[in-house]
Amino acid sequence: MTEEFDGTRSVDAESIPQPISPRTLDTTGLQALIDALAWRGYTVIGPTVSGGAIVNAPIRTLDDLPRGWGDAQEAAHYRLRRRDDDAFFGFAAGAQSAKPVFFPTDELLWRGRRTRGEFTVEPESDDGSTAATAGQGPYALLGVRSCDLHAIAIHDRVLTGRVQADAHYTARREEAFIVSVSCTDPGGTCFCVSMGTGPRPEGGARARFDLSLTELLDGGVHRFVVEVGSERGADVLSDISALPAPIDDLAAADGVATSAAGRMGRTLDTDGLKELLYTSVESPRWDDVASRCLACTNCTMVCPTCFCTTVHDVSDLTGEVAERHRVWDSCFDSDFSYIHGGTVRDSTKSRYRQWMTHKLGSWIDQFGTSGCVGCGRCITWCPAAIDITAEAAALRGVPQPARPF
């Protein structure tokens, strides 16, 4: 087994000489952080309000952030709502995770030319730039939730820690800067506590960050406790004036995390879940969920750990130039499992069973952790209001309360 990509360019968090104590930044300091990152050449990506949802986009100033916006999430339900405060990060999981930044929906793998019976293949450039991302990296991500940090680490393992590392992914990950935030206001579909992935970014091998913020709005100055997670993070922080965080702020940050942990919208009992799924192949519950599932693939699109792709081979009109693209795919797609003679997973039932068994079960055998980080996006964005936590509980035989929707 090969070494896991550790997400930072230099030393890992445990060996930073002298732990750097947390600092405090006010809102001016937050702008200074964004500026410092931009000055160093990063394209800063953060949450923005667009089309009635929180979506990641390039940001430059605090005005680009969703100041004063919160959200209401339930199965098949997502709405933004106005908060009665000025919080910049007062919402739960946005519509998309960090996944599309490092793992684009469309990636050019190679271009080939055919001349007089020979063909040559030109790999894409080694720095990871492709037609889709040329000139736009490196990226600094601002506002990454703990669940999504864990998802990034899971993707690192899937995409770089097995037989073959994805070179483009590796390059983008290496050069990226991550500023995570502790959740202050978890949503109706959140269950990171059940999955051990939040609500507070802990650092360490499974949740690396360069810097992590906890927003404090307690009647005093609107400020952020900043924790340092890497040498690179310390380096950037040194560009900004930030005073050491007072003890009360550290306690307040702890309080934010504790409070958020107590307000999860969902729970998932993971005890023996893999074995349960492996032995529930014939459960009638699958027919029940199949009667609701549209196989629309929304869940796989918004899931921060789904990684399935397919390839598209295209050629120009002369047939002399061909390109191979890698594009996102979904196991819910009807010909995902097609082999000559038929499709192995033909029914929606078998496809839903595959997705859930993989995410919560076989992923553990493959990669050593669950594939689910409890972000709740699959529940929020399912048009049929299918809830993975309810399905797991139903398989266990636990009666489910009716939910209004």
């Binding site: 081979d313 047939g319 795919d329 997973r345 029914s347």
Partner: protein, 290 residues
């Protein structure tokens, strides 16, 4: 060409390993038509660097501008300068591959997957059960057995084809039986009057074959239904499930465990397979649509 240069340690790829996502050009040296829809292509690398491969492995063969298909290597492992692929024309990509005449350049990615690991059968009998084109991925294993014939006791090949006209490698079958000490039993699903051999399903050959099941190694390849029945028949004869190997097939796109298509529960068939033990496969083959 095709190697990734200059990126930081920490990833799995190294400077010396070529990028498995990039096809290497191979030129078609020879095409032999085996049956009405099956052809064997002999390929040689345009840069001269031979492909190192093991019996049971496959490559992704690329027809420029058309697409790729996973095809098992069917040639002689002791001759890496030319690699053979036996291809059945069943779709647009395989049609393009079998139509590639001598001199055409095809792309090759791989080799990928686990091999038959024939050597673990030393000192005992080896029973090979092939159905249809399943004989092609087994041919390198048989050639390896023959190359080290003295290391094995009885070697039995049980082969089922659709009709007498669909029997592959007829010259090899004869040589193996007459010259190389292999017991070869062939059956067809149905035949015309002129066929003097057996007619019946290949698993019927298993009950009659003479071999010492307890120490035997079983290698099975063919359509999944056939493999399931053959594995059951060999298991009923007393061959231990962990000594029974099947070559499984699923949709494949990348060949390196990244695209997710070839998963059979927790197994990625391009990395953990395609050759797998029946002890591991039996529960996964017993349910529909897994």
């Amino acid at each position: 060409m095709g190697s990734i240069a200059d990126f930081q340690p920490g990833g799995a790829a190294t400077l010396t390993r070529p990028d498995p996502m990039l096809p290497r050009p191979f030129r078609v040296h020879r095409v032999h038509q085996d049956t009405r829809d099956t052809y064997t292509l002999e390929l040689e690398p345009t840069d001269g660097a031979p492909l190192a491969w093991l019996p049971g492995q496959f490559t992704m063969l690329h027809a420029f501008g058309v697409g790729e298909a996973p095809i098992s290597i069917s040639g002689d492992p002791s001759r890496p300068d030319r690699i053979e692929h036996t291809i059945r024309n069943v779709g647009s990509v395989t049609a393009a591959l079998v139509a590639a005449g001598p001199g055409t350049v095809l792309g090759v990615r791989g080799p990928f997957g686990t091999g038959w690991d024939v050597g673990t059968g030393r000192g005992g009998d080896v029973v090979v059960v092939a159905g249809g084109i399943g004989l092609a991925p087994l041919r390198p294993a048989i050639l390896e057995l023959i190359a080290h014939r003295a290391d094995y006791d009885r070697v039995v090949l049980l082969y089922g084809a659709r009709t007498p006209e669909d029997i592959l490698f007829t010259d090899d079958l004869r040589a193996w039986a007459e010259r190389d000490g292999i017991i070869v039993e062939v059956t067809v699903d149905n035949g015309q009057h002129a066929w003097r051999g057996r007619v019946g399903f290949v698993t019927q050959l298993v009950t009659r074959a003479g071999f010492d099941a307890v120490r035997a190694l079983g290698l099975i390849c063919g359509p999944e239904v056939m493999m399931r029945y053959a594995a059951q028949a060999l298991s009923d004869r007393g061959v231990r499930p962990e000594r029974l190997r099947l070559s499984m097939e699923r949709n494949m796109k990348c060949g390196v465990g990244l695209c997710g298509h070839c998963q059979l529960r927790e197994l990625f068939l391009c990395v953990d397979g395609p050759v797998l033990g029946y002890d591991q496969l039996a529960p996964l083959m017993s349910r529909a649509e897994l």
